[in-house]
Symmetry: D2
Subunit: 433 residues, 4 copies
């Protein structure tokens, strides 16, 4: 033991914990010489070892009555943890494999694009695929990005009513000053607007910015920080209470995102031929039109929904987000959607309006190998050199197209009474019960 | 080629496609003899081969300009696809590994419970962990499940105003008839209430039921189907327009879930000692109390939020849901939360009220090995034999507890100005850029 | 002057201010011997004199540059102020005459009922009248009261998490105890339910009660007060923070009223014959059906409305409320309404669903002579002896019927492009400009 | 009879119905020679006679079992009906007298202004008056109009997805074209912005315009009409479905008004000295601060309110609106308000944020003599010649100030437990029961 202590000490000095045995490392963690979360750093670049040791520790801190400890079931080997450590996850135990199915390819704006979906909900990929097939057989779908702007709303406080009004007026009249400050912190970001809301002597300032191919939360947070410093030079009593005051709104339901948009505001449309409705979707045009009013408008209105005027947009958004490394917590607002179904001649016109699709082609989970591969499969990974922002816009278009596939298919299924049977067939009989 | 056709034909007859070469299988798919989605079935139980062949096909249908086709990056081997096929995903390409970090263990209702979080957002696990540490040091947290009931709202139509009213009255006065019909379809399910909303001659009927340890959507859908058949015996003009009319509300923002609850309605509380607030959370009690009002109440109110009176509940809910095989699209309503922070003496009382946590200990993604392992780690996997429902309730309690850790930590961080630096340190410098 | 002081003193002693001259009274008010608000009491029963004196005082405290002081324009004579003083208004200056027009009579549930509307919006009465005519020509309309319950939500605080839960449980499990306490304070009131929402250690308790023919706010406030006293006997730490904690919700937009109802929840329907749509409403059935979806569903959904799925329900509700002495501030939630228009055969089916009509046949402004006369005109003034509550329900039915007239007429007008011209003709050329 | 027919005929020819006897007029109405609504026109300028005859007719169409017919109770004489006929009301029966009380004067932006309130709710004027007194004793209140713009949102339809996008782009890129068209119809109106929302091939276009001293609905409707005609010249497929598509939003609860504002967006603040809180409001500063969070933030958040973060703004808004001839149906959105109460040193800072105050100094009911007199009393009647718009802005400021008085007083009353007793004393014992 004495020797190990010596080794530990010397390791600590040189940062060379790697020389210790696993058992010794565990002891160092218990003795708080190595932090539980610091194992990867201590043993870098041997992350597998760090994780393996953490798993052993967890067996004692979270004991299990099962024959094999559950943590043994979680895979962790053969994974490039170097891309995760210090960036995407801490206290790593391993990874959860989420099955990926492919819907489509969908003919979107004249090009075929595969729709990778990571999900464990039976029938979801099949249903989306069916929607894509119906759309393709009718000539594909069209999309447009109507608006673009990631938002962040710091909240500041001043010492008087007059100063609070001065802050509001400054954002209107001296917008250029704040824009210049903001843009001095970023190569791609462009500040587009600041929307203020006063509550007493506090002002909530919703910054909206173009953020290139990044989803943009970090970029905009940094830009806000700078802009606020400049604001303080002009109105010295300004005190920043928080860099995010929920008027953004990030990862919470909110009307402001529904009305103003956040990220990309996208619309998409497809015209489905009558015979496709009948033969592929096993339904008739009028029934889908009617059901859309009954369910997606009236039902959601009765439920008191803001932005939930769709059948199951969140299912598709969540699956594409997890597959492509987007932030799954942003499904909350990214999935707000109004689905419209109308009859045009004998055919069916379906469309979706999604004002808050928050996606990036770089940053966050998009840099992990599998997730990035799925973005590559969709043809929009990484930052576009020629047209910055075009890749993230394309992701948003694909998300809207995929959602439209899902809407079309589920509405048809419900209208023709297939919901129960489809789910029952695919989603039951779990082998483990 | 002739031989292969023969082989294919005989394989088709006997279902024995397995005997064909990969190339031949691909040809059969192109010729639509084997459905693209039917590869697993055709080659069962050799699912790895089915997936490998699909990946080859995808390389041609979704061609890539990259040196290696992106699909080659997606892992698919060494996975028990038998648990996925026909249940959780279709058109399988492989799986996305989502890194899992462990926050806690958290001392919750007197027991330590690990908080597995699948996420790619840097600092999220670390932040939740810090919250857990602060709570543990103060004696842990308490939770309660105030209400329990999964919901499904079919929409029916009748031929007259009087009949629509008759449907509403029947649900009130003859509830027992519908309850008996509902419960005849399920061993565990108990119908608790039916809430009706009329829109013209359509009636939206929100069934709420106890569903044991299952999240319960399938169980309740089946029960509704039966109850509606019995309703039709009493009011023959009743026509079911859809088994889900959005008054449920599933995977969409809605006030009805916020006000009435869906799944489990959970509250949790912890009292954080002043010195813990100062030493662990690096903040002072008053600042957190103030910021909670400014951000979580006023900011969200200004944003027009229904149920989003929290800092980032969705982050924690999404991470725990993905780790434990819950439905990530249900994060939309499961993450609605009001966070309350008050001062009690010198200490800080933090609490969360989450009315719509939709979780199950069985069914859906919870049956997949890794996800189930994480539930086991939390001590609540599978159906409880002694007390049906107790495992799913425990998941809900843990989710609420974990959310409270995240709230406490983020609010403290924001209040002391750490947000930007914490994110910047952990979430940037993606190696691939 | 000396004499007057003596007189004043003796008047004060005996309460006999009446003996003083007007000028002396004014001096007493300036000297704060008589309160500005206390003039009626001081000079009772000569209220006209009290008001006249106040008007003189106001001419000095609110001076005007106009030739005649504006207060001189306001009528105050020939009014029975005895019914107002101490009950309905303080610091009385006079009264505002609001023009009353009569729409209808409307054939409602088989009986003709006049629709008195107090309004200054040109075309409103005419438009409602046109709707009534269309309905009458088609056989009238039907209504139903689906639910009944005025609400009040006090908020209480306790000293611990466990006690907060105990309050919630007490309301569920010992409801009878609180009901008995509540009902001990009232002859007509019947407590129907208590719905709790926890926020930290505070519990918002939404009492819902049948309140007979009164709108019921005072009745229920009194009942709550008593019930809370009894609750305190069982859970002594209960502290009442406020008798109304906004979870009621009174006079504010809220989803809880939309989803749960407040006051009377009423539905109404009429089937309008195709020829009536064409000849009276100058429109065609399909256009109205379409416009209802476009405007009342999609437009309101895009606007982020909770409960505003109608064309102009508030116009009609406000006019009937002012005419009949209801509380015009309650128009906020009483006017929430979903209007549904469908085609049935060749005819048009219009309906309204109004969950929160808050009206009374007694109390408040309904006791004033003109307002009461309008209730009598509608056949539902005062408390029903035979069937308590039936008069207030009837008011609610009439409100719903009148709203439906307004919806039908405005939708038709808009659909056929008449809106602008109708308004322009009636609402412009104010003589004073 | 023969003679009367002749007379009637000749009267009809010459429009000279006035020569007929009352009884003959009634017969002409029954015979549909004179329309029921046309009596005023037929007998102009003897409106009293027209109304008297209508009242007689109503006695037969709406018979009453009462000894005296209720219509006899409704006053109608001594009123200048010439200002109402053809402008503000049809089918006139008389008028409803609504008692007016005076709160204040309130020291607002350095000037004293009386607050006329038309109401039948006991204690409302007294309570507002008390709030005004507390504010005055503390030095008065300040207000600011942060934004100004009445809105109207027509909805148009085009024949394709591309054209719908073209409409949206036109509003952004060619705004000047539409603005010029709009402004060609009005002397005062200035089009400020157009905000579009797409739903399928329909585009909801929210026009926002400065409308001088008018509330502005008619002005903007006319301007929209013209702008749409010009839009059609550029995009010929544009079809106007309705001049109002509810995205405005007028007289319905909506998030768009809360987030974007409608009419005047006003903030107001007052600092109340500690001793005034204690002596006048009979309360302590901390209690009011706390209760504001508990009730106006948490309670309303639990209720799912958009914009209802106040105690009873609607009460005050309704009373001032009825007193000054504003549109009482607009109380729905005009009363949205966030009340903020904070402690500053030992004192209390109260403020209100009201984004949608819809008021005018000309037009509508403001032209009627009594209503106009109340505007004169407030010092802001009619169109301002020097600074068009300043009078309507002043009304909005006064409304906000009056609301703040009401908030301060009710919150204090509730906090000190006075609610019940104040209401009970003033609002009960109606003499007629």
């Amino acid at each position: 033991m004495r020797r190990s202590v010596l080794r530990a000490c010397s390791a600590a000095k040189g940062g060379g914990w790697a020389a210790l045995s696993d058992k010794e490392i565990v002891e160092q963690v218990k003795a708080k010489k190595i932090a539980f979360y610091g194992l990867e750093q201590a043993l870098a670049p041997d992350y597998d070892r760090a994780i393996a040791i953490r798993r052993e520790i967890v067996k004692t801190t979270c004991p299990s009555t099962a024959a094999a400890h559950p943590v043994d079931t979680l895979p962790y080997k053969n994974y490039d943890w170097g891309r995760v450590v210090g960036q995407s996850c801490e206290n790593i135990l391993g990874y959860i494999p989420v099955p990926v199915g492919l819907a489509g390819p969908l003919l979107l704006d004249g090009k075929e694009v595969g729709l990778p979906m990571a999900t464990t909900e039976g029938a979801l990929v099949a249903s989306t695929h069916r929607g894509a097939r119906a759309i393709n057989l009718s000539g594909g779908c069209k999309t447009a990005v109507l608006k673009e702007g990631m938002t962040r709303a710091p909240v500041v406080e001043v010492g008087s009513f007059e100063e609070a009004i001065a802050v509001v007026r400054f954002c209107e009249e001296r917008f250029d000053v704040l824009r210049d400050a903001f843009e001095s912190t970023t190569r791609f970001g462009k500040l587009r607007s600041i929307k203020c809301a006063m509550a007493g002597r506090q002002v909530h300032m919703r910054f909206s910015a173009f953020t290139g191919d990044a989803m943009g939360m970090n970029m905009i947070t940094k830009g806000c920080d700078k802009a606020l410093k400049v604001l303080q030079e002009h109105i010295p009593s300004v005190q920043v209470l928080a860099l995010s005051g929920n008027f953004c709104t990030d990862k919470k339901p909110s009307a402001v995102n529904w009305v103003e948009g956040r990220g990309k505001s996208v619309v998409a449309e497809a015209v489905i031929k009558r015979e496709v409705v009948e033969n592929v979707l096993k339904c008739d045009v009028d029934s889908v039109v009617e059901l859309n009013v009954t369910k997606n408008l009236r039902g959601s209105a009765l439920a008191g929904s803001i932005g939930g005027f769709n059948a199951h947009a969140a299912n598709v958004v969540a699956a594409v987000y997890i597959a492509t490394g987007q932030d799954p917590a942003q499904v909350v607002e990214s999935s707000t959607c109004m689905t419209t179904v109308e009859k045009a001649g004998e055919d069916l016109v379906v469309s979706v309006m999604m004002p808050s699709i928050e996606v990036g082609a770089v940053g966050g989970g998009t840099g992990l190998p599998s997730q990035r591969a799925m973005l590559e499969l969709m043809g929009c990974a990484g930052a576009s050199k020629e047209d910055p922002g075009s890749n993230s816009r394309q992701i948003a278009r694909v998300v809207a197209g995929a959602v439209m596939c899902g809407e079309l298919s589920l509405l048809s299924g419900l209208a023709s009474g297939h919901l129960l049977s489809a789910h029952m067939k695919l989603n039951r009989k779990p082998p483990s019960q």
